[in-house]
């Protein structure tokens, strides 16, 4: 690693008013796109492409990367305050973030999310930088066999996330998996579960499903209950700058978890094919599993906010690696970023290291900088955002309905998806009778990868694919994870 290039590109970035200005401009735009459901990252980048088109390649790339890096930071705002995920991965933040707002701890949740995003993004960038030399062997070690097992590993987290309701959790998880199979199967060309409707050929839209399962039930519950999001009155609650800072320090108080989930997120983003969307859920599951008091989760545990938020941002750093060096996008957002890079005249590939190392490092620094600026900007508005939790629920309900429907339409691009939103009725039923909902999202996200990888692995190696060394390691991890969960359950049972 040539240290001089590293330092030089940082100085270049910091001293160039044009580039700095672009980063500063990109951050609020990215956060805005993350905050409005359905606009999330991908559509945002797509919208920005015409604007960036005429720019100098470095400037354009810096702008897009900065914008993309902070999408999830913005996405945590509606997740925490209203229980509406801005994008699929943000739903993981809802599970504990929204209950925190309901307990009157909205400020603390926002602060934790903020700090976690910032730290996660920085660590992701560092991972990106450190792994540059060993990129190829790491990425090439993961093939369909490993993806299948990684997906299974993710699905075993369903058990962890279901708390006491294991069976209900598994049922909901299976339901998510079944919905993942809806669409045109690439392996056989058969349109499955589509009822002859073209819009279902591409599968169930994740944003619509997540909105149906989280946003709608929460709003209905709010409407039924009356009052505001926060069950505690403003006077007794903590929403000022002090609580935000408390959340920030929480991130450092749980520094081991923070670092672990950042690393996991970066690694998941690094391996193209797993789909970075799963990262936040996997890290959330990890937080639950590694906690001594897992029963607090789902009711407003701050670790439940920290884990997914670090992962959301660190995975972007990890995902840039295969995107830049193999031209293979590491996450769904990277797909568009890649297109934009090519349009800007940046040709991804190994020659990027050889000829344009300065560009790569500038992008790394831009990632870091964008995350830090996001933290600062967010801090400025956080305390006012927290007030949202105290607005009368009755006013919020119709607005949120409208916002969710808009988000579903924008995210999927088709009005037919709005019919899918009626899943929200089922979502309300699940919430009402204590059926866990996170397993559904995991099943939906990981189902496709699991199935396609399985078929691919079988086609290439036959059932012997399970005997590959990496596969065996992962199998052991799956076994360990299940064992761990069962032992833990027995321990808590014995205690109570």
């Amino acid at each position: 690693m040539q240290l001089d290039v590293v330092i030089a590109s940082l100085i270049n970035l910091l001293t160039s008013p044009g580039l700095l200005g672009l980063v500063v401009l990109a951050v609020p735009i990215g956060m805005f796109f993350g905050a409005v459901p359905g606009l999330g990252g991908k559509l945002g980048i797509a919208i920005m492409i015409p604007f960036v088109f005429g720019m100098d390649p470095l400037a354009g790339a810096v702008f897009l990367v900065s914008m993309h890096a902070v999408v999830h930071t913005g996405g945590s705002i509606p997740s925490i305050l209203l229980g509406i995920p801005g994008t699929g991965p943000d739903a993981a933040t809802v599970v504990d973030g929204y209950p925190m707002a309901q307990k009157g701890e909205a400020g603390r949740a926002l602060g934790a999310s903020l700090g976690a995003s910032g730290v996660g993004g920085v660590i992701g960038a560092i991972v990106l930088a450190l792994l540059l030399p060993v990129l190829r062997p790491v990425v090439l070690a993961f093939g369909p066999a490993e993806f299948f097992l990684l997906a299974i590993l993710g699905i075993t987290f369903i058990a962890a996330l279901s708390g006491d309701n294991l069976i209900k959790g598994l049922i909901v998880g299976c339901f998510g998996l079944m919905l993942a199979f809806v669409g045109l199967d690439p392996m056989t060309g058969i349109a499955r579960f589509t009822f002859g409707q073209l819009f279902l050929w591409d599968g169930v839209d994740v944003i619509t499903a997540v909105l149906a399962l989280y946003a709608i039930p929460e709003m209905i519950a709010l409407g039924v209950r009356g009052g505001s999001v926060s069950a505690i009155s403003k006077a007794r609650a903590n929403y000022g700058i002090r609580s935000v800072v408390e959340g920030l320090t929480d991130v450092f108080r749980h520094w081991r978890l923070t670092v672990r989930t950042s690393l996991i997120g970066a690694l998941i983003g690094l391996v193209p094919g797993l789909g970075g969307d799963a990262a936040s859920w996997i890290c959330y599951g990890h937080a639950v599993q590694s906690s001594r008091t897992p029963e607090r989760f789902g009711k407003g545990a701050v670790e439940g906010v920290i884990a997914p938020e670090t992962a959301n941002n660190s995975k972007e750093g990890g995902a840039m690696l295969p995107t830049l060096f193999f031209g293979i996008p590491g996450s769904s957002g990277m797909v568009l970023l890649l297109g934009a890079f090519v349009m800007l005249g940046i040709q991804p590939g190994p020659q990027l290291i050889l000829n344009h190392l300065d560009l790569v490092w500038t992008l790394v620094w831009a990632l870091v900088l964008a995350n830090l600026i996001a933290v600062l900007m967010f801090l400025g508005i956080a305390r006012w955002l927290g007030l949202l939790a105290f607005i009368r629920g009755g006013l919020l309900v119709p607005l949120v309905f409208l916002l969710a429907i808009t988000g579903s339409y924008l995210g999927s691009g088709s009005w037919h998806n709005l019919i899918l939103l009626l899943l929200g009725v089922l979502g309300y039923g699940l919430k009402r009778f204590d059926w866990p909902r996170p397993p559904f999202v995991i099943g939906l996200i990981l189902g496709e990868i699991a199935e396609v990888s399985l078929h691919k692995a079988l086609a290439i190696w036959g059932p012997a694919f399970l005997l590959r060394p990496q596969a065996l390691i992962l199998l052991a991890m799956v076994g360990a994870s299940l064992l761990f969960y069962l032992l833990r359950r027995r321990a808590t049972r014995r205690r109570s």
């Binding site: 990425v139 093939g143 073209l198 819009f199 094919g273 193999f326 293979i328 691009g413 088709s414």
Partner: protein, 413 residues
Amino acid sequence: MNWTKRTAAIVCFAAIGVAQPIEPALAGPGAEFFDGKKITYIVATKPGGGYDTYARLIAKYLEKHLPGARVIVKNRPGAGHIVGANQLFAAKPDGLTIGTFNTGLVYAQLLEREGIRFDLRKMSWIGKAAADPRVLVVGKDSGFATFDDLRRAERPILLASSGIASAAHNETILLAHALGLDVKVIPGHGGNEGEMAIMRKEIAGTFGSYSSLRPFVENGFGVVIFHVGGGPALAASVPAVRDLVHDDEGRAIAALIESQTALGRLTAAPPGVPAERLAALRAAYESALEDPDLRRDAARLRIPIVPSYGEDVAAKVDAALNQPPAIVALLAAVMNVEIATISVRTALVTVAAKGKKITFRSRDQIIEAKVSGSRTRVTIAGQDDDRANLKEGMVCVIEYMPGGEATEIDCDG
């Protein structure tokens, strides 16, 4: 600036200044209709992809060459371009809607896939913007370096494709058949996953668009074995598929895929657009693609422009859709698609092997079909009969599977 440069500059500016007023005159009578109107340009993909880029670029210059018109790009993704194509076909044919979609939909139409509500033969073709040569690339460590290596392979060659419904998958199977290669295609490799699989040595290679595989090859990870339609861009040592096939069926397949490569980035309007307006659209499209500013923008975007216009495109699409039934049957077998039997009233040309094989004319071709003793229902003069009693010259209504066997033969006697 010395005087030669200054003069050159003045000449340039003058030329541009003079050139401007000429353009509206070139536009012709139909063009007045578009003054002050909004044209919707449907793109059958999400924003940010290749089709989207071409469309936005062309939209910008269409506006320039259709004075007074505004061209708005609308993305209508879904079902592998089928949603967008359906919407285009169903749009009002007033000339205010045009669209672009994947040429691969030709395969979808050939196979009469469900969900298709368009007929490419009837579209009002405006033009196409690029050529899309395809190549077969194998990994540099795959153990294959030339076509002969593939021919001599002892085990099935593993190739990656993005999905069974994709055009590339169809073409891979067709080519394997045409070239006599033992190939196993593994779908599920979307985007550049195929290249990753090659690098991991799980897969030997993949067949696809040269523009997307080029970086892979230039970075040294892969080697081009043969190409379809990609003469100028590749080394002379890389053979064209056309030179590697050895029979009529192979040549037909090579011709089909070559025609596909020629028709890249199509633009069309729904059927029934008034002739004047279609002519104006075609003229504007042509001016747009010939515009040096567009060429310059395209070069900056690194997208090649190899245009073709109007009737030329229509003729090529028609040709692509006229495929011998054997090829349609081959495609159908690959895609798990059931194709309809064809029914025709005609005279039997030959009857061989005691009625086990017959030939007859159908759709301007001589068709050979098998007659099964158990499955084919044979009736002569209204009575159930045996295939051995079929005679040349008998006039019958024959129902048959393309490339396969007859299901029913009902002869006059």
